[in-house]
Amino acid sequence: MGYGDVQMIDENGIRVDGRKAGDVRPISIELGVVPVADGSCRMTWGTNEVIVAVYGPMEAHPRKIQRQDRAVLDVRYNMAPFSTSDRIRPGFNRRSREISKVTSDALESVVLLELYPRSKIRVEIEIICAEAGTRCVGLTAASVALADAGIPMTDLVVSVASGKINGVVVCDLNKSEDNYGEADLPMGILPNSGELSFLQMDGDLSQEEFQEAWDYNMEAAMVIGGYCAEALKNGGYNL
């Protein structure tokens, strides 16, 4: 089946899961879910479920990975074997490596690493159940877990993806929309400054559609940023 062959949005603009174009799937945030970690967060977003644990800052071993001027941020994104419809074989995976790297780059932009020279901060992102947009959930949950660990940062990072289905630009693609959609634009937004620290895109969007997707992401990130802040202040958030 090619792009656009499946009708995913009706004449009233209602999507397969009942959302309107600009709506985000339901989100819940729970803190302290990994009791042995220094900070942790469980985030559900639609049927995505992600657990993030933060360890550190701590002594960086081995010595050769130490940086004299700042801490090393060691971010790992990993999907549990049972997280998707087809089992994922554990072990090396190019997709996970790339997502780990861009997530790390996005977080390095907000964490005050220079306060902890020669240390290491480990961020472990585990996808327990995947629907669509796991990299966005992972990045958002990681920034909340870092805050839960008391690691100083200039802002949170909220990540959300908009895309296009049946020629209509919509916010926060679910699984079937992601499979049959025509474009996907995930962004990582700093909710207080409005700056971006993460950006990817694939598919086909006109300049106007791109702007529309961008605006949806910005709007959604502000709302989700509010949920994250609320979760950190009140120990959790449940929509």
Binding site: V33, V34, P35, V36, A37, T47, E49, I51, A53, Y55, M58, H61, R76, N78, A80, P81, F82, S83, T84, S85, D86, R87, P90, G91, R122, E124, E126, I128, C129, A130, E131
Partner: protein, 263 residues
């Protein structure tokens, strides 16, 4: 896993506690931590369970694949069990290829379930010699505060017992529940401060010595045994552990069955 440094003070304190019949968290010698068991919690797995024992938290997920049966067993499917000790579970767990510890962990749990015969591998055959189901049980630790063995074994059998063979997904008919005829239960004992205790915590494991894992079925048949780490034990000690494992095993088996309701 990096080799954790054993604080000598912890060891000497554990000996003092054992001499006074006490444990670090106030439990009795054969007491376990509170167990929370949930099943059917993961949307993308054909069977799933989550176990929390104190601050130890693990998930188990079951997936099905089709396989070509082995030529010497053309009418049998397969069961595969793998344990992953991801670095998320604790400071001491380092990233990298599977450690000998996590391989041992997976294999001990695997043997207990496989050898109990709870899954009829012949029933997993679709077309003899051509196609059969492979049941894959993945064990996943989220937080390691000791005794991952028992947590994995409990989550594993509970996940299998609530699994559904996804016939529809493979266009082979309607989904049917996986038939699991038995409920093998593992009980693990660590030597801490010179004596054996049940369900050691992370600190007890750190300051303790050898461990013994016993997997029993409902009829008290023994399905797997494993002795791990440096240390020796006597026949008398082992007899006591076996006795304790029978009582504890029945208790945990009831817990697993209680979640299955009218089935």
């Amino acid at each position: 896993m990096s080799i954790p440094l054993v604080p000598q003070l912890l060891r000497s304190h554990l000996i003092e506690l054992a001499e006074n019949d006490q444990r670090l968290d106030g439990r009795g010698q054969w007491d376990g931590r509170d167990v929370q068991l949930e099943v059917g919690i993961l949307g993308n797995a054909e069977g799933s369970a989550k176990v929390r024992m104190g601050d130890t938290i693990v998930y188990a997920g079951v997936k099905f694949q089709t396989m070509t049966p082995y030529s010497d067993r053309p009418n049998q499917g397969g069961l595969m069990c793998s344990a992953e000790l991801r670095p998320v579970a604790g400071r001491q767990h380092e990233p990298g290829p599977p450690s000998p510890e996590s391989i041992e962990l997976g294999r001990v749990v695997d043997r207990g379930i496989r050898e109990s015969g709870c899954i009829d591998t012949e029933a997993l055959c679709i077309i003899p010699g051509e196609k059969a189901w492979q049941v894959i049980l993945d064990l996943y630790a989220i937080s390691d505060d000791g005794n991952l063995f028992d947590a994995f074994a409990l989550a594993g059998i509970a996940a299998l017992r609530n699994s559904v063979i996804p016939l529809a997904k493979f266009e082979l008919g309607e989904d049917i529940p996986l038939d699991v005829s038995k409920t093998p239960i593992m009980c693990s004992y660590h030597r801490v401060g010179g004596r054996y205790v049940y369900d050691a915590s992370g600190r007890e494991e750190l300051g303790g010595d050898e461990r013994i894992h016993i997997t029993l079925g409902a009829d008290a048949h023994v399905h797997s045994l494993q002795k791990g780490l440096k240390g020796t034990f006597t026949a008398g000690e082992f007899a006591e552990l076996m006795k304790q494992a029978r009582t504890k095993g029945d208790e945990l088996r009831d817990l697993v069955h209680s979640l299955e309701g009218g089935n």
